[in-house]
Amino acid sequence: MDNRELAHKARKGDAAAFEELIKFCQEKLYRIAYSYVNNRDDALDIVSESVYRAYLNLRTLKNPSYFDTWIIRIVINQAINFLNKNRRVMLKEDIGLNTGSRDAVKSDETIDLHAAMGKLDENQKTVIILKYFEDLTITQVAEVMERPVGTVKTYLHGALKNLRLELREVFQ
């Protein structure tokens, strides 16, 4: 059974179909969440909350073909929500800007990736993750972000500009 059929069945309330659908994409969802928060436990929390919400709101998914786009959007919204909330807490506690980086052990590469991504605003980060890491087309990225293609291109342009500056240091 393909994803479209599974999504169709899931929309009708078939929990097993929903579980199977999520199984196909759960690693992708985790990687996306992790790219925002750079912390294993937080990324797991975000995936958990996103899957829960997706299940509750399945009926709002108008077209089963867009299941992937739809669930990625939920994960990204949850991740950004998490960062906003965390940012407020961190500012209050005045303990710097290393939001979410509480893992005791982290490879240098992951820190570099996080450092590079840290230079991007949330929209730019989303475009880089979806376009270059998840290989979505610009049109698909625009669908996930619910923004016009032109706006997405502007984000991409800004992201690449910022990254070129930043990556020069990271990957020299």
């Binding site: 929990a15 929903f18 579980e19 999520i22 199984k23 759960q26 690693e27 985790y30 990687r31 992790y34 790219s35 294993r40 797991l44 995936v47 958990s48 909350e49 996103s50 899957v51 829960y52 919400r53 997706a54 299940y55 509750l56 709101n57 009926r59 709002t60 108008k62 919204n77 929500n81 998490f82 906003n84 909330k85 590469e109 992951t110 570099d112 990736l113 590079a116 880089i128 993750i129 270059y132 890491f133 990254l163 070129r164 990556l167 990271v170 990957f171």
Partner: protein, 308 residues
Amino acid sequence: MSSIDEMKTIYEDISIPEELDSVVKNAIRRGRITMKNKKRSTGYFKIIGSFAAALMIFALALNTSPAFANSVKLLPGGETIVRLLTFVGDTAVGGEITDGQDIKDIEVEKQPDNEMLTIELYQGMEAAAIAGHFTITQITHPYGIEVGLAGVRAFSAAENFPDLSEMKLFDDIYRLVTLDDSAHRFVVTFKKPVIVEVSEQENPARLIIKVREDKEAEQLAPMYSLRTASMPFGEMVGVAENILEFELGSENARLLQDINDLYFTEEGLYQTIAEAEARLAEIKQYEHFTFEMFIEKRESGSVPGFLE
């Protein structure tokens, strides 16, 4: 290797925790439990609501109340039936469980002592015979009604709401986000306190909402609204409403439009600022609710303010 490719390699090497499977399964289990509870609670509500309304109508009919008798018209051939509904508390319910209707058109009419809003329901290309199950709830702060229709998949009337600029009682009409593609909701606000009368018509299906000024209405005290910031029309206000209602037990959670035509989710109205603050503190404890909440003092008849 280019820098982006390097980054992609690091991204692909992000290790997947073993617990991911169980985390996902637990989230789905949690979703199933919430859905079951949700279905159960709305089911009871509908049964109790419809039963109460039916009982009231029946009792009125039995007693041949003049108000009821005057409002029930059986036209020759039995085509059109108009039934006056009774508010039980703040709510009137009616219609039948159906699916696939369209809120086709909403019209207003001004008469010397009242104003009338007519909602026309269609099934496909033709007028529906009986309205889908609906709930009309009277609200305050601001004065208005919230109309919810189930079994409705389209809301054509939202593209072309009636012009209310000449109206003395109707103030505004706007659609609400509903995270359920088989239901639609909208709000009608009033400029002053009114007496609302709802009639349900069959063949063709119409809801007729008649309002007249309530000159004896007591001035309501200002209330403290615990609410989110103003947001554009979209899923987010609906998500906030769902979490408040189903996870935080906020029975009076609702959506409203602010003075700038943006939307917000209101957790509830409180008589004192202390009560609102106490509830705010409770909500802050719940980590899955990430919307920032504010307390807004609001007069009974005023349009909610814009909050960033």
